[in-house]
């Protein structure tokens, strides 16, 4: 089974601070990391390779610095990696990004399964997996926590929702997005990381190689425009504990909410009456 795992090289958002005076994000000195949710996709891909054989290729569209992230993943045991990197790809929204990734996967040719993380910590759109599936005209399931290979080049996937578990059967090639926190990503190993440093298994594909229409990639190929970013300052929470019967508690709560002008005054005492 040839599995491609798509990852994103993201700023470590935990370290990004907001400057309330200028209304901008302070990104100075903020290192990038592999999107943590993507490590769960890597883990599932590696588990599948162990179970069914084959190889795992990581792919990302990013500036050259992302080689560090791909080496981290190779350190976990991924076989090889492709960095899609070209100035022409800069400024891409999810549509243009997914187009480049899907094109790279088409170029690889022999791919059976494409695995993504559920979403990214720096934008959380969860668009890219679905869009890649669309470009490839492949079936797509998200919130996946387990995959089994079955006969006739098909897989059975287990998908966990809040209150139920579903099983789907998909024909490969297929695209899945792995439920966040559903795996236990393995640590980087000495022998794998040594290979990442010595053998340099990361290939870089620029647009010289992919030869995509420049109108469809990067800023030019991106219909989405981010017009403004605002910050939600942390609101200090108020805490009060009321002990008593549920009915009294409801009346008490409504009165408090009226006092705080969160509810319009409506004669709260009556609300608890009747039923």
């Amino acid at each position: 089974m040839h599995i491609v795992v798509g990852v994103k090289w993201v700023p470590n958002t935990q370290a990004v601070r907001f400057d309330p005076h200028t209304g901008t994000l302070i990104r100075e000195g903020v290192p990038s990391i592999v999107n943590p949710h993507d490590l769960h996709a890597v883990e599932l891909a590696l588990k599948l390779r162990e179970r069914y054989g084959g190889r795992v290729t990581a792919v990302t569209m990013a500036p050259p610095g992302a080689v560090k992230g791909l080496e981290h993943i190779i350190g976990m045991g991924v076989d090889d990696a492709v960095l899609l990197s070209d100035r022409k790809y800069a400024g891409a929204d999810t549509l243009a990004t997914s187009y480049v990734i899907a094109s790279a996967i088409k170029r690889m040719g022999d791919v059976d399964l494409i695995v993504f993380g559920q979403e990214t910590i720096d934008s959380s759109t969860a668009h890219v997996p679905a869009q890649v599936a669309s470009w490839l005209e492949a079936p797509y399931i998200y919130y996946v926590e387990e995959v089994e290979a079955i006969e006739d080049n098909r897989i059975r996937v287990r998908r966990r929702l809040e209150d139920l578990v579903e099983w789907y059967e998909l024909e490969m090639p297929a695209v899945i997005a792995v439920l966040m926190h559903s795996q236990k990503p393995r640590p980087v190993r000495l022998i794998h990381k040594l290979r990442a440093v010595l053998e340099k298994p990361v290939e870089t594909w620029s647009n010289e190689i992919l030869r995509l229409d420049e109108r469809c990639v990067g800023l030019k190929g991106s219909p989405t425009v981010v017009t403004k970013i605002t910050w939600m300052p942390e609101v200090p929470r108020k805490q009060k504990i009321f002990k008593g019967e549920p009915k009294e508690a409801v009346n008490w709560l409504i009165r408090r909410l009226e006092e705080e002008k969160i509810l319009p005054t409506c004669g709260a005492d009556k609300c608890g009456e009747g039923d």
């Binding site: 000195g29 560090k68 981290h72 980087v188 190993r189 000495l190 040594l194 290979r195 440093v197 053998e199």
Partner: protein, 428 residues
């Protein structure tokens, strides 16, 4: 996987100043050397006070022309603080002896040199064990993977998990170690120049004793980086642990009324902590080499805290340099990395060096500086004396009178003062 068949002659554990210096020299001499580092990239786990002495570093790396030097230390300050009073001695130096930097940046610079010379650096890999077969070190183990080499250099730092596991050292007593905590406050280059009275590119190094660290043994430090200030406290761990949480100590130093205006409008951009080998003499392993194995840097206990300055980075680099040269010579002359050969070529030379002799020499000063009641008493004595001289009402007392009054107030006899002075000078 032809790369993995590559055989390494030397494995260095830890990409700090000691390990990087060793790897650099070895690679330059044509050795196949791999350096294993637990952090992400080089420097992401490194903490020091803020100042590096340049002379030994130049011996290892040659010119420091392209090194990430923030400021050359020109102003040396030493202060005793007692409540709202402070006595400061300032020395303005004419030469370039030490500079400030971020250790992570300096380590990255060293790593660049080592890689350029041909060393392989593998990061994100934690070494769990030194592998021993037939009484000889044969390699290292990490997460179940083994990597073998002819010789291993242990530059693991102040927490000597590998050396303890190997049985070469015991877990240190808390009282032999100090804990350093540090805040880096971004302030801007011009403000630093203004507030410390510095010209562009010049730096200040400032050691503080007294109430700044709540009289716990140790003291405070302030270093000026390019556009930030590093402030912190170093406190001896003592057997019962710290009396006050270290983050409270460093925060009360930051907010000390005598100091806080220096970094007014600044922003804390990092908060870090690191163990400091305080009583180095007791921490130096009984042997610095085994068969195919050498210990360098903090792991070897090579740090000097005189009370008026702390030296570690250049010692570490120099020990790595000596270890590398010993390996080269052992290979060329003896074709052997036996304990005997390595101890002769490394340990004996290190022990004959100024680095080692200074560490042994300064132990008396450490002891005095670490004595909290003495610091508290003398701080009060000095400041009461000066207060008597400068804070004048109607009368103008003489130095003799104010000193006598201060001694009475602080219950210090003249004989005690003389004895301590003589003791201190002799031992220093």
């Amino acid at each position: 996987m032809q790369g993995l068949n590559r055989r390494f002659e030397v494995i260095v554990v830890g990409a700090g100043p000691a390990g990087l210096s060793a790897a650099y020299i070895l690679a330059k001499k044509g050795f196949h050397v791999v350096l294993l580092e637990r952090g992400r990239g080089v420097g992401s786990k490194q903490v020091f006070g803020g100042r590096v002495y340049s002379s030994l570093l130049e011996r290892v790396f040659g010119s420091l022309g392209d090194a990430p030097i923030h400021r050359w230390v020109r102003r040396e300050r030493l202060s005793i603080i007692n409540g709202e009073r402070m006595l400061t001695v300032e020395y303005i130096s004419g030469g370039k002896y030490s500079f400030t930097t971020y250790l992570g940046q300096l380590a990255s610079w060293m790593a660049g040199k080592a890689v350029e010379a041909g060393a392989i650096i593998v990061d994100e890999v934690r070494v769990d064990r030194i592998l021993v077969e037939d009484n000889s070190v044969v390699g290292v183990e990490s997460g179940g993977d083994t990597l073998k080499a002819d010789v291993v250099v242990d530059a693991e730092g102040a927490n000597r998990l590998l050396l303890e596991e190997l049985g070469l050292v015991e877990k240190p007593r808390p009282s032999d170690m100090a804990l350093g905590v540090k805040e880096v406050i971004k302030l801007g280059e011009e403000k630093i120049d203004e507030r410390f009275g510095l010209r562009s590119g010049e730096g200040a190094a400032w050691i503080l004793a007294g109430s700044v660290s709540a009289y716990t043994p140790g003291g405070g430090f302030i270093y000026t980086n390019k556009d930030s200030v590093s402030i912190g406290v170093v406190v001896s761990l003592e057997s019962g642990g710290l009396v006050e949480e270290p983050y409270r100590l460093v925060e009360s130093m930051r907010l000390n009324p005598l100091l806080k205006d220096i970094w007014r409008e600044g922003d804390i951009i990092e908060y870090s902590a690191h163990l400091v080998p305080e009583r180095s003499v007791r921490l130096i392993p009984s042997k610095l080499a085994l068969n195919n194995f050498l210990v360098v840097g903090d792991a070897a206990g090579l740090l000097l805290n005189t009370g008026y300055t702390i030296r570690g980075v250049d010692y570490a680099a120099y020990s790595g340099y000596l270890a590398a040269n010993a390996i080269v010579e052992a290979e060329e002359k003896y074709g052997s990395y036996s304990e005997e050969v390595l101890r002769r070529l490394y340990e004996e030379r290190l022990k004959r060096s100024m680095v080692f002799r200074d560490i042994a020499r300064h132990k008396a000063v450490e002891m005095i500086w670490e004595n909290p009641t003495m610091i508290k008493q003398y701080a009060a004595l000095l400041l009461d004396t000066l207060g008597g001289l400068y804070e004048l009402g109607e009368s103008t007392p003489s130095l003799r009178e104010t000193f006598k009054n201060a001694r009475r107030k602080n219950k210090v006899s003249l004989i005690r003062v003389m004895a301590d002075l003589v003791h201190g000078v002799m031992k220093a």
